[in-house]
């Protein structure tokens, strides 16, 4: 294997990793805050991509793409905020809340997917890219859109991390995640903060969706694959720290790229799930976590 190929495969792995990081962090934030695994995350991603497609209306270019991405993130933020009150809150006092939320989020996924099918139809679509064309680096062609996706994903993660660490709202969100009762007794608006968490997570899913929709073709159920990968990422990396799913996302992205190149497309899921099983057996709290987070 030549250095050129190595670089090319590595670069595509990094880009995949960036998008997985964006999605998996959204999942991890909801998981650590509400103790709920959001199976509708993939459907939200797909919906985000379709909203962006609708807004950009067939025309590309940076301005349109920016507008489309922003509208999509905003719409999905609102949907996520509302979905807390529809999917999670009615059951929060139930003992089997985790199982119930699995069912409600799966139901939401099915509803959203079929709504997309009804509204936009089954034909493959693609969000027009912000920047067309590619450039040559170390003998391999890289698309500008790929680089934009990676940079935006990392920037969004930095913004989220800063938000959670520095702002009062972000800190309150962490407080609610760590001790709900104490937060309530402090007078924090727990429902609002929970809804905000889901909203932010779905907005990030939308952003990932817009980029995946611009790099590949999209259809109503194309969120299922990224959801599966983010599940692997979250299990692989653990959720104890903000950075652990991000690091794991790049591991998964690179593993996927290299296994696709060497073993073929059909074997890469097997490799990823093999890794996941190995981690679950050897280090169940995740590769990059020193301990399990108590919820």
């Amino acid at each position: 294997m030549s250095a050129d190929t190595f670089f090319f495969v590595g670069a595509s792995g990094l880009i995949l990793g960036g998008l997985y990081a964006l999605m998996a962090t959204g999942l991890a934030v909801v998981w650590t805050t509400l103790g709920v695994f959001n199976f509708a995350h993939g459907a939200f991603l797909a919906l985000g991509a379709y909203v962006a497609w609708q807004v950009s209306d067939g025309s590309g270019g940076p301005a349109t793409f920016l507008l489309a991405a922003c509208v999509s993130a905003a719409v999905l933020f609102c949907l996520g905020y509302v979905s807390h009150f529809a999917l999670v809150k009615p059951f929060e006092r139930k003992k089997n809340m985790v199982l119930l939320s699995v069912i409600t989020t799966l139901a939401a996924a099915a509803i959203i997917e079929n709504a997309i099918l009804l509204i936009w139809g089954p034909r493959d679509k693609q969000v027009p890219a912000a920047v067309e064309g590619s450039f040559e680096l170390f003998g391999s062609a890289l698309r500008y859109q790929d680089i934009l996706a990676l940079v935006t994903a990392l920037a969004a993660l930095v913004v989220l991390a800063t938000f959670l660490r520095r702002t009062a709202t972000g800190r309150s969100m962490r407080a609610v995640a760590q001790n709900r009762e104490a937060a309530e007794l402090m007078g924090l608006r727990t429902s609002h903060l929970f809804a905000l968490t889901i909203g932010i997570s779905t907005a990030m899913a939308a952003l990932a969706g817009v980029f995946i929709g611009s790099l590949r073709f999209m259809n109503p159920s194309f969120g299922a694959d990224p959801l599966m990968k983010s599940l692997i990422v979250v299990i692989l990396g653990g959720v104890a720290r903000f950075t652990s799913p991000i690091a794991a996302a790049f591991v998964v992205g690179l593993a996927e790229a290299f296994s696709t190149f060497f073993l073929g497309l059909y074997w890469s899921p097997a490799v990823l799930f093999g890794m996941m099983i190995a981690v679950l057996v050897v280090k169940p709290e995740g590769l990059f976590s020193r301990r399990t987070k108590t919820l």
Binding site: P90, F91, R93, K94, A168, R171, S172, R174, A175, Q178, N179, E181, A182, A183, E184, L185, M186, G187, L188, R189
Partner: protein, 261 residues
């Protein structure tokens, strides 16, 4: 006569279907410091959690300044295998209303937010209830009451000792500018030295004119800090000891146990 700051009328509650306390009548006047003493496992903490709004009262009222904070009437306990009654059932009391009315409950053995630093916790505390005004003044007050916390400003709560955690909890409560501060077992697991330090801090809070409701197992600690004492036994307040003279430990033990056994 003005209404007392906090008044509990025939309050009953528990964890359905287990009733934990009943017929609790208790008042705390403005700037008064009141103690609640009773054996373990009799429902003191459950009572306080109900007052703070994290548990629903079954019966009776929680009143602050004469205004009822809970929903009227008794709680109906209905369950069904077919319907999710939680969808229709509203909370009978809301923690946020209690906090807004100026009653702050400091939990027992509170871990607070383990992954956040003291600084972060202290900074969000006032924002939660009173907005951004006067934070600097409150910070100075915390520094004055708990000089220890200044040294641990950037440590995560997880790494603090039990006593330091207790101090952060009380400081967080104070930063909400309460009119009544409820302390649940503040000396739990504390060394005698820390207990003296904490006692001084609570005495300091008392001189600021804040009403206090203190629950503790340590009667010497308690009697030094209060005007009035309620004895809590078998799920209800069964005796009130007035402001005249605080009884000694032996007298209280005799009152609590010899009458019955």
């Amino acid at each position: 006569m003005t209404a007392p700051l906090l008044e509990l009328r025939n309050l009953a509650g528990g964890y359905p279907p287990v009733a934990v306390f009943r017929n609790v009548n208790l008042t705390v006047a403005v700037t008064e410091s009141v103690g609640l003493f009773g054996p373990n496992g009799q429902g003191k903490t459950t009572l306080l959690k109900t007052v703070a709004g994290t548990l629903d009262p079954w019966e009776g009222d929680v009143r602050v300044d004469g205004e009822r904070l809970n929903a009227e009437g008794r709680m109906r306990s209905r369950t069904s295998r077919h319907l999710n009654y939680d969808l229709f059932r509203k909370r009978r009391i809301r923690a946020r209303d209690v906090v807004r009315s100026g009653v702050i409950y400091v939990m027992q053995g509170n871990l607070l937010f383990p992954e956040m630093t003291v600084k972060e916790v202290i900074e969000i505390a006032p924002a939660a209830s009173v907005g951004r005004s006067g934070i600097a003044a409150m910070r100075d007050m915390v520094d004055e009451l708990f000089p220890r916390l200044g040294e641990r400003w950037h440590s995560r709560i997880r790494y603090l000792s039990g006593g330091e955690r207790q101090m952060v909890s009380i400081a967080v409560g104070l930063l909400a500018l309460p009119r009544l501060l409820i302390l649940d077992e503040p000396t739990l697991g504390l060394s005698p030295k820390l207990r003296v330090e904490l006692s001084a801090a609570i005495a300091g809070i008392r001189t600021m004119g804040m009403a206090l409701l203190i629950v503790d197992q340590n009667i010497e600690f308690l009697t030094g800090l209060i005007d009035r004492l309620y004895l809590f036994d078998h799920g209800t307040v069964d005796r009130e000891i007035g402001s005249g003279r605080m009884p000694s430990r032996q007298e209280i033990m005799a009152m609590m146990f010899e009458a019955r056994h």
